[in-house]
């Protein structure tokens, strides 16, 4: 294993994304607490407001980074057979990328 590892960088990324995710999700929760019922139009307008689309795109990116570092750490801790580990890690990576592209498409479709 000669690949240089970036433990500190990942540690920091995990925490920075955590702070953003936490703030955004508490904001989301507060919104739903203040306004539990939506009609389709209200919901659509709320999501597609430009500033919110940007915040959500950032949120998606943060989820991908945070999810990747977290899931990778879990797999490295509990799965020791190299081939199985690589298989699971690539499945996780691919599904995260898939989720990212899908949610990006959802945002773009909704706001155009």
């Amino acid at each position: 294993m000669s690949r240089p590892t970036h433990g500190l960088r990942d540690w920091l990324l995990q925490r920075l994304t955590a702070v953003y995710l936490g703030i955004f999700l508490v904001y989301l929760l507060a919104h739903f607490m203040l306004q539990p019922q939506h009609t389709y139009q209200q919901w659509h307008d709320w999501v597609t407001q430009p500033a919110r689309v940007i915040a959500m795109a950032l949120f998606i990116l943060a989820v991908l980074v945070h999810g990747w570092v977290g899931m990778r750490d879990v797999v490295l801790d509990y799965v020791h057979a190299i081939s199985l580990r690589l298989t699971i890690l690539s499945l996780i990576g691919l599904s995260l990328i898939g989720c990212g592209l899908w949610s990006l498409r959802v945002l773009i479709q909704a706001s155009t």
Partner: protein, 151 residues
């Protein structure tokens, strides 16, 4: 030194003795306990919080496609929006949703706890234990409150 047949035989003999010794060591001289009774190991409360942080993280990762699907559906058209709402109000789906929201609340609260500990807040054992209890108990309560309020 060239490898003549005699020497090869000698080497394999040495190798055999070596391998045999390892085998003997492994079978007879093993002094580590191999049986751990998981029911008798008491987990400290902080360990429960920590392992639940991981578990809830994995659950949240697994629930991502479901959540994105609901978002997708809810933004397509008024009919699909109603369909997404009816999914959420389905009792089977709601059971899963309880689990997801509990995971989310636990992940959020214990995450905040870990961040505070990272900046040296609440590091002493007494406070760390108390905050771990607080996180473990508040997460399900907040999750239920959240469900009751929003749905």
């Amino acid at each position: 030194m060239p490898l003549c047949p005699m020497r090869l035989a000698f080497l394999s003999c040495e190798w055999y003795k070596f391998a045999r010794q390892i085998k003997v060591n492994m079978t007879t001289q093993r002094s580590v306990p191999v049986y751990l009774n998981l029911l008798r190991i008491r987990f400290p409360v902080g360990a429960v919080t920590s392992i639940a942080h991981r578990l809830s993280g994995v659950l949240l990762f697994l629930s991502l496609p479901v959540l994105i699907y609901l978002l997708d559906l809810s933004l397509q058209s008024p009919e699909d929006f109603e369909k997404a709402l009816s999914y959420i109000n389905n009792c089977w789906f709601e059971a899963g949703l309880v689990l997801i929201i509990w995971s989310f609340m636990h992940h959020l609260l214990s995450g905040i706890r870990f961040l505070l500990i990272d900046i040296d807040k609440g590091v002493t054992l007494a406070i760390a234990r108390r905050s771990a209890w607080l996180v473990n108990l508040c997460a399900p309560v907040l999750a239920l409150a959240c469900l009751w309020w929003i749905l």
